[in-house]
Symmetry: C2
Subunit: 355 residues, 2 copies
């Protein structure tokens, strides 16, 4: 594939001024990638100015949520070069998500070229402080205008980008959600699709009113096992070893989770992927056996959990951030930001393009 660069791209990039406070995912880069799927094949992609999409009011995505997306980051490394973190993992997860909603897969080559292209042209926008990045958001939507409940026959694929600060700076207060669930067994929880996030909003609104930051989701069948947070996977440090919920079919397989499991081994920590009963964990925190808990994801990297709240009572973690979370966070960021060797071959360098 060769990506067509719209003649307006140069001017848009030159004219862009980033505001002083970036936040996370709220300032959008001035260009985006776009490709269209119709009559069974993908059109050649193009880099175009960022701007509103023209979407028919009967488009499937608006009614039936036929949408999936990815979240990944490009980092400015200490030597000034630009690196993407394991983009092929996102490409494959997006293909999985697309299949779950009967959408055409984005060929891995097109996905990677699109992400590299947006990164290359937006390279000069990537902030340099540790934890900052260009957040990339590939998005696939079904746009056929037709009200029948069936898969679209037209799709649009975008990669938009947002120069961003770190996502969660502070420690997180997490609330155990014992009523709502974000995804069903046999549902879409292991795919990165819109409906899971819509379903999570009510819980978050309620817990915010109680002074908490994030919901801790439990297994949908019996609400006993820990699953994950709305946009992050969950880890606990028990007796100095790492424990994380095993992939249950209703949680998302995070790239960060996977990377931490590999990294932990090299740092000398044992990792257990298993069913984690929430009440057992609360008891282990109470007795001091569980010393740390944290959430991890592309956006948040590693965010230490300070409090786990429950209807009757809440428990506090003794170490926030604890030594294991801190060591893992540094080791991962050191690879991503180029301060350390990359023994796993996780980073892919992108040459900046000048329009």
């Amino acid at each position: 594939m060769s990506i067509a660069i719209s003649p307006e791209v140069a001017e848009r990039l030159r004219g862009f001024e980033a505001p002083e406070r970036l936040g996370f995912g709220s300032v959008m880069a001035p260009v985006m990638f776009r490709a269209v799927y119709q009559d069974g094949c993908w059109s050649g992609g193009e880099l175009i100015p960022y701007g509103p999409l023209q979407i028919d009011p009967a488009a499937k995505v608006l009614h039936y949520a036929q949408t999936c997306f990815e979240g990944m980051k490009a980092y400015r490394r200490v030597d000034g070069s630009i690196g993407l973190f394991r983009p092929e993992k996102n490409a494959r997860r997006m293909a999985y998500s697309a299949r779950r909603l009967c959408m055409p897969e984005i060929p891995e080559g097109m996905f990677l070229e699109a992400v590299r292209c947006v990164t290359a042209y937006c390279a000069y926008l990537i902030p340099a402080a540790s934890g900052e990045s260009l957040y990339l958001r590939p998005l696939l939507i079904g746009t056929q205008p037709d009200l029948s409940v069936s898969a679209s026959n037209i799709y649009e694929f975008y990669v938009i980008a947002s120069p961003s600060e770190a996502y969660h700076s502070g420690n997180m207060r997490v609330w155990i959600e014992r009523d709502d669930t974000r995804a069903a067994l046999g549902g879409t929880g292991d795919a990165k699709v819109g409906g899971n996030y819509a379903a999570s909003l009510q819980s978050v609104a309620q817990l915010k009113a109680r002074g908490y930051d994030q919901s801790l989701w439990l297994s949908p069948s019996d609400r006993k096992q820990i699953e994950e947070l709305s946009g992050m996977n969950f880890f606990a440090v028990i007796d100095g070893q790492l424990h994380t919920p095993k992939l249950s079919g209703s949680i998302l397989e995070g790239v960060t989770r996977d990377s931490l499991i590999e990294l932990a081994g090299t740092l000398g920590y044992r990792v257990h992927e298993r069913e984690m009963d929430i009440d057992d964990l609360l008891a282990l925190i109470g007795s001091g056996t569980c010393s740390e808990a944290f959430a991890c994801g592309t956006a948040a990297i590693i965010s230490p959990i300070s409090v786990i709240g429950d209807a009757g009572h809440s428990v506090s973690l003794p170490q926030v951030p604890g030594p294991v979370s801190t060591a893992l966070r540094s080791a991962l960021l050191d690879i991503q930001e180029g301060r350390a060797e990359d023994p796993f071959g996780w980073m892919q360098q992108v040459e900046p393009a000048s329009p």
Copy 2:
């Protein structure tokens, strides 16, 4: 509220030519209603030409499926007048769906006025044969451009319309879905939100390949109890009495279901809302005790089920359509199309508007 009528509406309506074959939900009326929610309140609505929406690529609806909708019909009655069927039920269900996804409710007055306005201006498009109608689709979407997983602070409300033929003409072959689920307990199954429909697409694609038309969804916790179809509620006739799954928290409370329960009483049928074990039902069909099964919804009215398919074997219903389904269908359509008295006060007349 007073609805502003765009100056282009008259011309669009005059210029519109319906194709010979309408289908269901695929030909869109040339005008639509639109209102915007911002800074905590709704703008005055307007009737405007049907056409593409301008949606920011970072809009919440595209990523997090913050969308809910309704489906309802306006009928051309035998005396030539136009009638809406229980529109206040749809208004209330949409308010419920909106709350579930942390969206602002559409005030009932605005909802009803919007639906009446679109119906009035599109009155001349409503086909007259029995079973045909103007299908109305209210739609609420969160459009704030921001990638954080949180509720939008901007919403757009549309009512689009589609002159339509009857939805399912034939008898339906239904497949028992024992793996996938469309909605979780504690999820969004009792709200009319996009994610439920996205989750259902994979199952339907698989059963179509096996020669079936619709999935029969089971209870998400144990997949033993019948829930509903992807866009219809389920009824069975057992020993001459009607049985339908009770509202479990994960099925949609259909307006048609509710109306049939009332109507059945006046026709002398007992109705049981209860847990319906799928394997029990298969046995009752096998023994001939269950003589009919059908699905019901605004689009489909009543569609008889001819076959219920399962991994090992499939069972056929003896009477397709059976006498109870046929009697209920006629009684409902007679009220909707003005051939019978309306003892429940379900119909609301709409005066056609000429632009």
